[in-house]
């Protein structure tokens, strides 16, 4: 379950920290956005690109 949906979990957590920072830009939500949410978004993006890559390889497009 966790392996299947880690990207969804990461996006939800990243979004939560981002919205917290947007609505209340205090130091703590700012730090959570900068040092947690942004790396999570980056990890999701890399995971998403890898999944597309694997899908295309599986279908012998690449």
């Amino acid at each position: 379950m966790i392996r299947k949906h880690w990207k969804v979990g990461a996006v939800v957590l990243g979004m939560a920290f981002s919205v917290w920072f947007l609505l209340d830009p205090d130091p703590l939500p700012m730090a959570l956005y900068v040092f947690v949410a942004q790396p999570l978004f980056l990890a999701v993006l890399i995971g998403y690109i890898l999944s597309i890559w694997k899908d295309l390889r599986r279908k012998k497009v690449l």
Partner: protein, 224 residues
């Protein structure tokens, strides 16, 4: 102000859309695992597999991208405001003093007389030029880490030699500045910051004692 509200609104809306997309993706993933990949979903007329891919694009790329773009805009533009500096409690005695109409510090005089119209902290505390701006941001992130991990001592101290370019970029060349003979005499040393403007023009902020917790001026109010 209106633009900041719009940025916050777009960021929050894209985050909400992203969360909804993620929720639908989890639901669709269960259908895909149940062998219904080719079954049309609701009345959309596309299969669960195709819809999942579109939702993945929206939920994993588009929505986070828009949210992060809005949050980053808010991060880089919002931190230029005085209110942003005042959100860290260690800065409040400095901001309180700056807004004190009776204070004679350099910061207070600049603020009171509107010599700097807006973004007063940022205007004096970023060194001009590309490298300066990047270094200012690096310092900002370092300060953020130190603040949230409580790894600092009060009163906070400015660790570098202040760059006079921050003063000269406004004052140099003005009639009032050029009329003072000593400015001409020490111009080269002023430019290389080997002497400080505050040597003659007074302290820029409250003293260390006034910035220490427990002092009456430490936590008077929090500007919004």
């Amino acid at each position: 102000m209106l633009f900041v509200t719009i940025v916050k609104g777009i960021g929050t809306l894209s985050a909400a859309i992203g969360l909804i997309l993620c929720g639908v993706m989890v639901y669709l993933h269960a259908r895909l695992r149940g062998g219904q990949a080719a079954t049309p979903v609701w009345t959309l007329g596309v299969s669960a597999a195709v819809l999942y891919k579109w939702l993945a694009f929206g939920g994993f790329f588009a929505a986070p991208f828009v949210t992060a773009a809005m949050a980053n805009y808010h991060l880089f533009e919002g931190t230029r405001e005085v209110e942003s500096c005042a959100r860290c409690h260690v800065m409040r005695p400095i901001v309180n003093d700056m807004m004190n109409p009776e204070s004679q510090t350099l910061a207070a005089r600049h603020y009171r007389n509107r010599w700097i119209a807006k973004q007063q902290c940022y205007t004096c505390h970023t060194d001009y030029g590309l490298y300066g701006s990047i270094k200012a941001k690096q310092d900002g992130f370092r300060h953020l880490v130190k603040y949230v991990t409580r790894s600092y001592d009060e009163p906070i101290q400015y660790p570098y030699r202040y760059n006079n370019a921050n003063c000269l970029q406004c004052h140099e060349g003005t009639d009032k500045f050029e009329r003072v003979p000593s400015h001409t005499t020490v111009r080269a040393r002023l430019k290389e910051s080997s002497i400080s403007c505050t040597n003659c023009h007074g302290i820029p902020h409250p003293t260390s004692e006034e910035r220490t917790p427990g002092h009456p001026s430490y936590d008077l109010r929090r500007p919004r």
